[in-house]
Symmetry: C2
Subunit: 429 residues, 2 copies
């Protein structure tokens, strides 16, 4: 693992840099924009995540001697010399972390020389595309779970470093805890977990396993009760831990039916305060389907870390304006048949009615849209002259996610496929 | 980024360890198995990847002072003391990297004390589930692409570290090159790339952009020709670079129709050797659809790094055997309603007919299946007494992938949904 992030990028950014340095255009002041052309099919909103990680990665975006040695076969000497001195000196504005987004929301606006800004394309896209996909899925899960906590436990289903970012993104989007210890270490995400089937199978009987767990972790622990027979395990669990048993976990079978049976059994045994946690390929639809079951918490794995069908966001990073030889900024955009972009620097606000409910995503082309009085500006400074100014505690992003969702129209709570819950309007340009 | 990998794991592994240390069962010799219950829906085979990365990660799986400080709030003092001295001392066998796999293939067999083996669950699953999902998708793409090279360029659509693993897995599965520079640096994956639309838009005209690129990167470069008008761009490209222009890239529109038009134009201009590369949301089906078009190479991004609809493999890591108090190994397995496992240590071979064509995946329970004479044993030693013995060059995995596919029945080439191309047979037990 390199201490720098500069090679977490694509070959062509370096060859473009070389060609632009040689032709004399590399210095041209440029504005790049990171944005989505659409929401994932059927989704009504997206959630911005990865902002803090992108800022961390930017600070480590430099080319050390080992990086330059690798690039010696990729670019020429003048380019290597330029890279050796590279530090990002430009400005970045963006949507704050946890914010909701819609089609064409200008999530990042990067202003710097072409040479500096083009190098950040892949790194910024990787972080934003991944983390926002996870947060967007997580948000639907916590929304439908309501007051019942969601527990992130998908580390094993995704790349080991992506897993850490997933735990972080899920926490921003309202998950209560994660299983991932590196997320606890790096980001302070609360972690939880008790035991797997292997722990029960290690012991000569389920009762011995439960006794071992309770002896070490206390009666407040969560016992996994589906290794053999659920009803018997619940009975033994309460016998071993007493009616103060913290929780039982169900990881297979028809969770809705089982939850009712287990609740009745626990209550009959006097363990009325023992909670029921369910896990097993849950997604937002399964969570919604369990709303009427006596379930006290949801453990979500695979469907969280794979974005519940949408593992990436499709954000792109496009040059939208750059200097000409006279020093004037001109809007630019691809003009061929499909995948059209809108040139010009963008500004954005969320139009709200007098009651504070969001009505539209208003994107100003070349100038800021006018605030009607109840609106909310969306771009905040993240980097000024190369210095990171937009860092904030993770809990601030989590609070922003909650507030941003509360201000959206009530249709945001519909899990069914549909249009974006507010329209995107372009003004100016 | 921590120098150790020990926290890339789940909270519950540590609490299970604590409880087992206290109850005296932690030392029990145990066999864990990493395996798939099924192939992704409709797929006919899977490809094992991540072996080399798992071995690297295992060597860095230790708890340093910073890790232990984090765990001070997770586990008790005796557990912390045990972790401080932790080094894996067990044995691991597994399918070699690049090998094909089928339902229930025992991809990893880990034998160690429960304490040592349980800690590796999440890290091994993360690496195998991710890398094998990517390699499995990549393999279908290179299979259908035939002699035309596939270029991996999906870094921007996935987590920045997952991107590096994707480039590595794609190379194993036959991709010619990647865009990812960190994959070049860490694994020697060949990289390639030339320019994006932003490079064209940076210049005052497409011609100036092409002149800048050719002046710096030579006439063998690949010009991106769909920023404005494709036909005009091809004309200008050949005018600037001459008939020795290396390639043109198409990134939008109807690629099949465009490829025919561009080929005709290039030939008419005398650029008969100029290749046509296509990119734009390609997957194995789109590649198959372009088989009759005059295309010379495929750039694949999103669909590669998201596993073409299957971003994870669903591998699980289960305790299948462990010592009892008398020191005898006993087979164990979960016995509740669904997600049933088969207890007992596994062995595996690929049954082949006299012509060398694979006929079945034969899995021996508790003992090795008998080789009929033309069969091939599948488990190789990866770790002996804690020492990594299974490391090999990446090109060995790439060659194995090619050989493993060549020995499968011809139905493996069908892209349509279907059953595994060979059946899985369990014997013994």
């Amino acid at each position: 693992m390199s201490p720098t992030t500069a090679l977490l990028t694509d070959h062509y950014e370096l060859t473009m840099l070389q060609a632009a340095l040689k032709s004399g255009t590399a210095h041209r002041r440029s504005v790049f924009e990171l944005f989505p052309r659409r929401l994932p099919e059927g989704r009504r909103y997206g959630v911005v995540a990865g902002v803090g990680r992108a800022l961390d990665a930017l600070e480590r975006f430099r080319f050390d001697a080992a990086d330059l040695a690798v690039l010696a076969d990729v670019v020429d000497e003048p380019t290597l010399a330029w890279l050796a001195d590279f530090r990002f000196t430009g400005d970045v504005w963006g949507y704050a972390e946890g914010e909701a987004y819609f089609p064409y929301s200008p999530l990042l606006v990067v202003e710097a020389s072409f040479a500096e800004a083009v190098l950040l394309e892949t790194l910024f896209l990787s972080i934003y595309n991944h983390d926002s996909a996870i947060a967007s899925a997580a948000s639907r899960m916590t929304l439908v779970a309501g007051d019942r906590p969601c527990i992130e436990m998908g580390s094993r289903r995704t790349h080991e470093e992506a897993a850490v970012a997933c735990a972080r993104a899920a926490y921003i989007a309202g998950f209560a805890t994660s299983s991932n210890l590196a997320a606890r270490s790096r980001y302070g995400v609360p972690t939880a977990g008790t035991s797997a089937h292997s722990f029960t199978l290690l012991h000569d009987s389920e009762e011995e396993a439960f006794r071992a767990q309770v002896a070490s972790l206390g009666t407040g622990t969560t016992l996994l009760v589906d290794t053999y027979d659920v009803a018997e395990a619940v009975r033994v669990g309460v016998e071993v831990a007493g009616t103060g048993l913290g929780a039982v976990r169900l990881d297979s079978g028809d969770l809705g039916v089982l939850a009712h049976e287990v609740r009745a059994e626990l209550d009959a045994l006097g363990a009325t305060g023992t909670r029921i946690l369910v896990t097993s390929d849950l997604d937002e639809f399964a969570i919604a389907g369990l709303a009427a079951a006596p379930v006290d918490g949801y453990g979500v794995g695979t469907q969280l870390v794979t974005g519940s069908g949408h593992p990436t966001c499709g954000f792109v990073y496009k040059l939208v304006a750059r200097e000409d030889d006279a020093g004037t900024m001109v809007a630019v955009a691809k003009r061929s048949k499909d995948k059209i972009s809108i040139g010009g620097r963008k500004y954005a606000l969320r139009r709200r009615d007098a009651a504070g409910t969001a009505e539209a995503e208003v994107i100003g082309i070349g100038e800021a849209p006018v605030d009607d009085g109840d609106d909310r500006s969306l771009l905040v400074p993240l980097v000024e002259g190369g210095r990171v100014v937009g860092r904030e505690p993770l809990d601030a992003a989590r609070a922003r996610h909650s507030a941003a969702l509360a201000e959206l129209p009530v249709a945001v709570q519909q899990m069914s496929r549909g249009e974006a819950v507010i329209p995107t309007l372009h003004v100016g340009g």
